[in-house]
Amino acid sequence: MFLLPLSLLKTAQGHPMLVELKNGETYNGHLVNCDTWMNIHLREVICTSKDGDRFWRMPECYIRGNTIKYLRVPDEVIDKVQEEKARSDRKPPGVGRGRGRGREDGAGGRGAKGIGRGFDDGGAKGLVGRGRGGSSGKPGGNRGGGRGRG
Amino acid sequence: MLFFSYFKDLVGREVTVELKNDLAIRGTLHSVDQYLNIKLENTRVVDQDKYPHMLSVRNCFIRGSVVRYVQLPPDGVDIELLHDATRREARGS
């Protein structure tokens, strides 16, 4: 299934994420909102300096999209966006019978959640120390996300 | 659009693309777009001992914004044609 980066980002609203800027600073926080320029609004933010040796806590911040290098979002967000997309592809909004989530009829369609993907990380506590079954065997590590914390 | 058209005519030829991180990649020009993003096939990095980072990559997309030079095949420039096209572009017609 093909996804647009900005759709994924939109779906990540309310989730914790890590943002690295081009200047090397990282921002850990919960996504409040974003726009089509990738400008983002975070809450409950911890900013980490480029070298990972200094920290600032702030209640919220706005980041201009073009200063971003990458965003790390919780794994389960991609399942969420795929479900939403599958649902809207099946039923274009405003067409036919009532809107909202119909009952899963079991036949066809994906199961409700998390096919092949664990939910062990819960996603509540930032992005530190995550990992995934499929990735076991690879050395762990947490560039950016884990630096200087914990 | 001149360079876009020009590169489109070079599709299928062997070129070497030198990037702004000093990496040079040689391969067959597969396609190009209006941003001068380039797709190469059968790629190999020119100095593989120094840059083994792409050893398992045979086809790649190179973002136009990071290209420093494209080395062309020796017979890849029809100077008369390019002169004409340049004049036309300058005139804006």
Partner: protein, 97 residues
């Protein structure tokens, strides 16, 4: 326009070189006009001259297009024969515009 889009690489394993010289490998889940990309199940390959290539698990990433240099199609066959633990190299230089 039929340019060098990334359509053909969706759901495949790709190797991305970023402008700051990192090498990130993952499954391409999507992209847009600006070459922003979604990488799933990604990991970074960290090159050094002192030891073999280190792998760092990264997970789900959105990489901004203006931070991307190369998107390479990872040939799984070639990659499986690569002995990363014995590969030594300097990290790639960052792109200087």
């Amino acid at each position: 326009m039929s340019g060098p889009g990334l359509e053909s690489l969706v759901d495949q394993t790709i190797s991305v070189i970023t402008n700051d010289g990192r090498n990130i490998v993952g499954i391409l889940k999507g992209f847009d006009q600006a070459t922003n990309i979604i990488l799933d199940e990604s990991h970074e390959r960290v090159y050094s001259t002192k030891e073999g290539v280190q792998l760092l698990v990264l997970g789900l990433y959105i990489i901004r297009g203006d931070n991307i240099s190369i998107v390479g199609e990872l040939d799984e066959e070639l990659d499986s024969h690569l002995d990363l633990s014995s590969l030594r190299a300097h990290p790639l230089k960052p792109v200087i515009h």
